[in-house]
Symmetry: C2
Subunit: 183 residues, 2 copies
């Protein structure tokens, strides 16, 4: 993907990122961030799945999204503006991440001037993905949303509980079960 006339080397960037960041191993079902706390880290996921979730007005656990290997995850607002997070981040498998603090991110930015542009790219990626999710929720029915998800992440059924998938899709677990039966 080309962002700019001056081409950007993502591999180089990732190299610098990994050298500056701290490797962390976490078991399954550990919270890396809790609501009410400030998100102090930007994570790059080497192995495992992280779940980004919150409790809605009715007190239900809602999966906002999943993040898989080779992607970044953080609570953007909390991380950048040091505000209280209203989201949780938890591991769904044994997970290996590389983390940096906001200060580390600035350091990275000064060591590697392309950081801002790479970061821009990552943000745009997030945005497009989120935009697709809006499209999904806005006018596609649940069976379609479900099969879209499976198509995009064929291994998700083996790795993530159906209850989490249901809330991600915006339906109850019972509805998801019904949808699965009809195929």
């Amino acid at each position: 993907m080309e962002y700019n006339d001056s081409s950007i080397n993502f591999e180089d960037f990732l190299g610098v990122f990994l050298s500056i960041s701290k490797r962390e191993e976490h078991p399954k079902n550990i919270q890396l961030l809790q609501a009410g706390r400030t998100c102090r880290k930007l994570y790059f996921i080497e192995k495992g799945i992280l779940r980004f979730y919150y409790y809605n007005d009715a007190g239900k656990d809602i999966t906002h999204w999943f993040r898989f290997e080779n992607s970044f995850i953080t609570e953007l607002d909390s991380f950048l503006n040091k505000t209280e997070s209203s989201y949780y981040i938890e591991t769904l498998e044994e997970t290996v991440v590389y983390s940096i603090s906001l200060e580390g991110f600035y350091k990275l930015s000064s060591l590697f001037p392309e950081t801002e542009k790479i970061w821009n790219l990552a943000l745009v990626q997030f945005l497009l993905e989120l935009g697709e999710k809006v499209k999904d929720l806005q006018f596609r029915d649940a069976p379609t949303r479900y099969s879209n998800l499976i198509e995009k992440h064929p291994d998700i059924l083996q790795r993530v509980a159906l209850g989490h998938i249901a809330s991600y899709l915006g339906i109850t677990q019972q509805s998801l079960s019904r949808i699965r039966k009809q195929k």
Copy 2:
């Protein structure tokens, strides 16, 4: 809002942006971008409302979002990667925008080194807003989504057709009408 230890002057940035960009006046109901074309411009809206929309699988016109005064709008993927847009952008009122091309954006970036960071901020803003919309669509009912929208944009009812608002909320115009009656 603070993004970084070195503070960023948005006003200065906007000044440079406006001096580099081209002022455009457009009447009501004009398409600034059509699906199938490449989005060549990044717009800053001085006056008016723009509607970002697409036709879904069933051929229905769906409002993806509205953009008001003092905000940026573009079809990000198309603009940055010069791909075919699958969205339309149209004016809903007489509108004044300032536009720059991608090349202009690079020029801005070199003239005003903070551009990337400002742009980052804008992207993060988009992301948070879109994240809220996902939350809305995922587990809030239509009457709640409607009143949230009115609360956020009290003047939208005077400025935008209800049909556009309905599709933005992910419901039919008939449903919106029913919801409005019950208040």
